[in-house]
Symmetry: C2
Amino acid sequence: MYERKIPEDLECGVTITAKVLGGKWKPCIIDSIRRGIQRPSELHQDITEASPRVINMQLRELLDHGIIDKKIYPGLPLKVEYNLTPVGEGILFIIDAMDKWGEENRDHVLQVTEETAG
Amino acid sequence: MYERKIPEDLECGVTITAKVLGGKWKPCIIDSIRRGIQRPSELHQDITEASPRVINMQLRELLDHGIIDKKIYPGLPLKVEYNLTPVGEGILFIIDAMDKWGEENRDHVLQVTEETAG
DNA sequence: CCGTACAGGGAAAAATTTTTCACTGCCTGA
DNA sequence: TCAGGCAGTGAAAAATTTTTCCCTGTACGG
């Protein structure tokens, strides 16, 4: 695992949340899981822009942060299922708020600042 | 400026918001400004963990995204003041929600996963 | 003139995150 | 036996973000 050289400041709540949601694909993965896409292979098929390896890594972090849990079904063929924990469900509120804000303000944010008003 | 090699997917609202809040010091800067710390030099003194250069760069991005605006007072000595735009004030809701969630779930998120429960 | 404060930028280094490539291992169907 | 699906990882490369170091320019106090 990567060993940080600059310590994180985890005293601020925002930093904690950013740590949890910060990965490039995490909100996407959380959303998929909430929509019922729970098995690794299904997630890989659902999020084709990211390689399976990438998704696995982010799943691992979400797991470590207690956002999702992992159920390994015994026996074969292999079957694994990820689900949101109660804490994970609590963060949906933030993802939804981010999505809403982003949709509402896309144009404003993306406007190329051509104006050099004084 | 850095030229991306992997295109961004800005169709998703979450991505837009992440773009706006994603910089390491942005939520911090936004919070300072909202607390009335508006001049560059004041911000530099308020956020000593980050170098002035770093803060300037993030201010620039916030400006480009229309989260803050910049008032340059004519005459000398130089005086510049940053303020939240209405759009910027709208994003406070998300920062607050992130802070709240982070505070409430710090322990859960930071728990080292010692359990290897089956 | 010298040191300081104001606001800010260029270039390169360092840190961090994301991606790719190549594997392990088991099982099923052809 | 070979091909493919399942779940997953190690190591290194590539991409991206953050940081450091050093400069530009004006004005003020001494």
